[in-house]
């Protein structure tokens, strides 16, 4: 059965680009434009196998989103990858403390992203 990936980014271009590439690679893809809508979707019953989120977003940034997701009982162990332009070590550490599984820096080639997804998602 195809795995489901949940993408969260305020950039329409990023969402389209990633969704297209991931669906072509055989994944189901769900998207949200910001952290607030992402939490709403998760609480409404969405059960992704992997979450990929941007950091710099309006209303709720990625770090806060990761903390909130980890606080939900069903999503304590779901892999969460960040995909962001933030490259400094301090921010990475913040993400790690919040509960991120990995830190990815934009721009990323689809080939590299798929390798990482294989590492974090068993059975892919």
């Amino acid at each position: 059965m195809a795995k489901t990936i949940f993408l969260i980014d305020d950039s329409g271009a990023m969402l389209m680009s990633l969704r297209d590439n991931l669906e072509f690679s055989g994944f189901n893809v769900e998207t949200a434009e910001n952290g607030v809508k992402a939490i709403e979707k998760l609480m409404a019953g969405l059960n992704p196998d992997l979450i990929i989120t941007d950091i710099n977003m309006p209303n709720m940034d990625g770090i806060e989103l990761i903390k909130k997701v980890r606080a939900l009982p069903n999503f304590r162990f779901v892999p969460i990858l960040t995909l962001t332009t933030e490259a400094n070590q301090h921010k990475r550490e913040e993400g790690k403390q919040a509960g991120a599984t990995g830190w990815l820096v934009k721009p990323i080639k689809i080939g590299d992203l798929l390798k990482i997804i294989k590492q974090v998602l068993p059975g892919v």
């Binding site: 980014d9 950039s11 329409g12 271009a13 990023m14 389209m16 680009s17 990633l18 297209d20 590439n21 072509f24 710099n56 332009t85 933030e86 490259a87 400094n88 070590q89 301090h90 921010k91 990475r92 790690k96 991120a100 599984t101 990995g102 830190w103 990815l104 820096v105 934009k106 721009p107 990323i108 080639k109 689809i110 080939g111 590299d112 990482i116 590492q119 974090v120």
Partner: protein
Amino acid sequence: MTTQSQNNTHVQRSTKLIVFLVSLMSVFVPVSVVILLSPYFEIQLNNQKEILFLVLAIIVALGMQWSLLKIIPAKREILSPEEQVHATNEKLRYIFNVITRHIENATEFKNEGVNIIENPTDKLAAILVQRSETIADSVQTLISTLQFGSHDTLENIKQSLTPLIDQTLDAISQYLTVSENIENHLCNQISTTQKLLINLRSELAAFVLNQSQQKTPPNLSTGIIETAELIDIYLKIEEAIDQQLAVVANDTNEAGMTLVTNMSTLRDSATGLVHYISESLSQISGMENEVNDCVQFIVNTGHFIKDIPSKIQADIQSIQKASSVIDSLGYLVDSIKDIGFQTDILAVNAAIQASHAGEAGLGFKIVADEVRKLALNSSKAAELIESGLNTARQTIHEGLKFKFLDEIMVQMDEAANIMDAVKRLDASHEDMRIYYGMLFSAINQNNLKLANDISDILDSIQYQDIVRQRIERIQFVMQQRNELLQQFIAELESSGGQMTDDFNIKMNTILNEYSISESSHHSSLSLNNGGTQSPQFELF
């Protein structure tokens, strides 16, 4: 007027008085000496000459006074504090007007930038993704269709793929035009800002120098220096922004080049695929013709074989008809024979009667003899006809037998030909099966290549998000800086130079936070900001 002002006026009047007296003395003293000492030097002066001398002296004195007053610099005048504040405020107001214009231009750039940069590239990115999806779907359909080997569908797909590629090229071309506009806009903005910076710095330097040459009150001097420092930090922030704008311009250029390269590769792959399909279609067409020929031959032969029984049946019916006609002729011959026999008997009777009639029956005897001959000939004719009919019957039967054999031989030959045709057909099908297998494999490889090319293009679109975020950070810092500057201007004007808040520290904080923020984000696509480059990805 205040005391200070009265003193200033007093000073002005006393200066003029002194100058007047000096000039008067410098003229009248020598003239008076000449007049008084004229008798001793035997100089004859009458009243007219003395009056003339006095008039000349007054004129010269006035002229000297005027000249002296002109030479003394007017700047030696000392202004009152209010006049000083007013003059300073005028100058400050001039500089602030220049900066306000700059802020307005920057705001306009911000608004224009959003329209130029964000909206069209978002729309075009959507179009690009949609086109890429359509191309990918088309090729997927192609792969599925090949499994059924439909010639028409291949042709349709070939015809639809080329315009799809062309439309995607158009979308890319528009995207690149927008990118070029962004680049040009940014380069113009940077160039304009740099000129403005140079002008501002010159004016500021000149203004500060000018102020230092005047004896301004201390609080005004502090206010001016603070203003100068603040504006200097403001301009440093501007320079930091310009650096990032240069990065944006460079990223836009790099991403545009990458897109063009990727699209060229995609076009080459797709063109190769279309060309390959065209070649394959003509080869498949040849193979299909051969298969069709075989099939047609088998069909025709089948029809022929199917028709043979009915043909034979028709022949048999014709022959049976002929036989029944012959048989009916046989009955006719029997009738003729009967008639001949009866006629002979009649003739014999007639001859007997004629002999009984004597000479009167001689004529009748002759007739009877003739009739008898006639009967004999009729019998002979009937026999001949019967013989002929028998021969005909025999011939027909014999001929039918051989004809039937001929038909069988033909059937057997045709059967042998059909077997050959079926074997050829089978071989053609095998060839086609192998050929379609190769075609499927080749197109599958091409499809994978196309998929990779499309992925590369989709990856390139990510730069748009990176640039957008950089522009947003620039907009944020410009807003912070402009708000602080406007607060500063308001306070400076109301306080007359006695500032209570430390605006320089706040402006420096904005500059430092912006610099740290930029260094923490991923550097340009190709430029290295210096410092440690963090890894592209890291699993915790």
